[in-house]
């Protein structure tokens, strides 16, 4: 890793930990720190005034946002700023839309928009066409996912829509953000679970001494490891161009991992983990929410399955290897 990357990651780690500790404060006050540190411009080229970071940097930063359960849309901001090539105001991505595009006007609804109420711009996929909409033109219904993260419904009537050319599938880009967050949040929940198991005494010894718990925590670690390997691999594919296959596989694998990891995290913690006051819920509620966002298991399993079946048995291995030979 270069010195610049190390500095970036240290800065993110420190800042995200600090801001996560201030959860509940006014969004604008917290977000100002993220903007000041320049994170939204991470992927924008240096000659355009950005940080000129890589997809590896993006994974590392968004993973840390997940690791600290940061209540801010750092991932969405980075990716949307890259797509729009401007980072001067907050933009986000719509995971799902309904409606009609007539010329440069849009009528319809964007569902579950992350931090929609706080953004200035939104990117949406309308039947394969990517458009930018201004939040100022929307009627906003404030909603939240089970982790209390804003997921707003935005209704547009005859709103100005600017066509945007983007080099990837919007849903897949959102999924990649969630994979990186899941990687971080799972490692954090695992770390909490291990610390708790080493600390909590029952039957005269720390419960982490019991093999039954050790075996479960090992399974948890394996699942977290799978996501922490899949995420960077998908980002490497992204850096080379087409990462549709890799992101689909990574998000599906991450979704599967969440199902197993969350159950073990809570089982190890016992009743305390279910309380509002204890910190585990910041991770597990986010993880179970992110599992559904930008494609649940069914969506990605079907997309991958259709693609692989259509290509046929004889193409499977040659395609799998050709893709990674080109990206590693």
């Amino acid at each position: 890793m270069s010195d610049e990357q190390n500095l970036l990651i240290e800065t993110a780690d420190r800042l995200f930990a600090d801001l996560a500790g201030r959860r509940g404060e006014d969004f604008d006050a917290l977000w100002a720190h993220i903007e000041k540190a320049g994170f939204p411009s991470l992927l924008i080229a240096e000659e355009d005034g950005g940080f000129g970071g890589s997809w590896g940097d993006v994974f590392a930063v968004i993973r840390l946002a997940g690791y600290h359960a940061l209540p801010l849309p750092v991932g969405e901001a980075i990716v949307a700023a890259w797509l729009l090539n401007r980072a001067d105001r907050l933009a986000t991505l719509a995971p799902r839309s309904e409606g009609r595009l007539t010329g440069d006007r849009f009528d319809g609804v964007l569902h579950a928009v992350p931090w929609g109420r706080h953004a200035a711009d939104i990117l949406a996929d309308i039947d394969g066409k990517i458009i930018r909409l201004a939040v100022a033109d929307a009627k906003i219904e404030k909603q939240a996912n089970p982790a209390d993260e804003p997921r707003d419904t935005l209704r547009f009537e005859n709103a100005a829509a600017e066509a945007v050319a983007i080099p990837a599938d919007l849903l897949a880009l959102g999924a990649l953000i969630r994979v990186a967050q899941i990687a971080g949040a799972m490692d954090a929940a695992l770390a909490m679970s291990i610390a708790y198991a080493n600390d909590r005494v029952q039957f005269g010894k720390p419960i982490g001494k019991f093999q039954a718990l050790q075996q479960n925590l090992a399974i948890f670690a394996e699942e977290a490891a799978a996501v922490n390997c899949a995420g960077p691999a998908a980002c490497r594919a992204m850096a080379k161009g087409d990462a549709g296959f890799e992101i689909a596989a990574a998000k599906l694998r991450a979704n599967m991992a969440v199902g197993t990891g969350n159950m073990i995290a809570h089982q190890v913690h016992g009743a305390i983990g279910i309380t509002r006051e204890y910190g585990l819920q910041y991770f597990t509620r986010r993880l179970l929410s992110w599992r559904s966002e930008f494609g649940n298991d069914r969506l990605w399993a079907n997309r991958l399955g259709e693609q692989v079946a259509a290509a046929g048995a004889d193409a499977f291995w040659t395609t799998l290897t050709a893709r990674s030979d080109a990206t590693s």
């Binding site: 799972m186 490692d187 954090a188 695992l190 770390a191 291990i194 198991a197 080493n198 982490g208 001494k209 093999q211 718990l213 050790q214 075996q215 925590l217 090992a218 399974i219 670690a221 394996e222 977290a224 490891a225 799978a226 922490n228 390997c229 899949a230 960077p232 691999a233 490497r236 296959f245 890799e246 689909a248 596989a249 990574a250 599906l252 694998r253 599967m256 298991d297 069914r298 990605w300 399993a301 079907n302 997309r303 991958l304 399955g305 259709e306 692989v308 079946a309 259509a310 046929g312 048995a313 499977f316 291995w317 799998l320 290897t321 990674s324 030979d325 590693s328």
Partner: protein, 381 residues
Amino acid sequence: MRTFSPLPFEPPAGGYRIRNDIRAFLAANLPAIDAPHRVNSWAVGSRAFSQALGKAGYIGMTWPKKYGGHERHPLERYIVLEELLAAGAPVGMHWIADRQTAPLMLRFGTEEQRVRFVPRIAAGELYGCIGMSEPGSGSDLASVRTRAVRDGDGWRVSGQKVWTTNAHNAGIMVALLRTGEPGGRHEGLTQFIIELDNPAIAVRPIIDLAGGHDFNEVFFDDLFIPDTMRVGDEGDGWRQVTAELSLERSGPERYLSSFALFLELLRRAGSKPDAATTALIGRLTAEIWTLRQMSMSTAAQLAAGNDPMLEAAIVKDLGNSFEQELPRLVQAAADADMDLSANEDFARMLSLLLQISPSFSLRGGTREILRGIIARNLGLR
């Protein structure tokens, strides 16, 4: 905390050319293999195939040329291994010698041992087996009792090894024998090379539940082993056995050995399968892709000279679990006219894998032991 620190898989310039080379070799040399054997390919051996591989330079790829090796990059070797497994090639004859026996000699053995055995292993002519388990020593390997007793310029051995894969084909065994008292739990063990063509050795088959013959019992009746066949110092056996476990645990065989069943599922499914089959194919694809990335990253760590203990244990356990889930999921999702008694490839492959897949999380370290290692690496215990 960071459970996995991925390292990109980066062979030297031109390294990927070897993928085409080995594919061309396989196109010309892969024997017709009965379908069920393709789902368990690293347990299926063919002397002719191993010799052809050796001749073409695909055994001992990373070893010094003076011992018959080819001084290729470890990641080039990785590419060859995954191609062999993906093709369901019968690699079982030489696999252990290539992965463990010769590397052990190159690392800890004497010059005499290297010169005598390694070139024949690289040629695909001499095969190895591993003498570790005994009737009373499975996961608790440190409890091995078969004793080597000093006798002049050598050692006398009486006792028994069991579950010895490939002993009926192998020319040599690397045996872990007791040479001293178990002061500390892992002391008093020494590794020896035993040439199996000896009247003091009896190899008896153990037939597995599906009728296959991989395992053996090996009996030593007052066997004499010259001291020149000792590998490493007396008492260093345990340290040597554990030194290269990461290499053994994280290879592509940990998720690819039953890959042929997945391909057969794809073949049967056709280009537009029903919803359940489509979703299953998607799920299995995601798991295969992820396991491959994990195995490749661990290979890159090893090639860089690191010892990724935690990652390697994770790759093995996840790979084993996947290979055990695969036949169960395929069985559950198969179409209604799939009949396990049918004399067709798909049914025969699935039937065999359903029967033998429990062994995947036993061989090379049980699941419980591996998870214990992972837990210890996480800071538990």
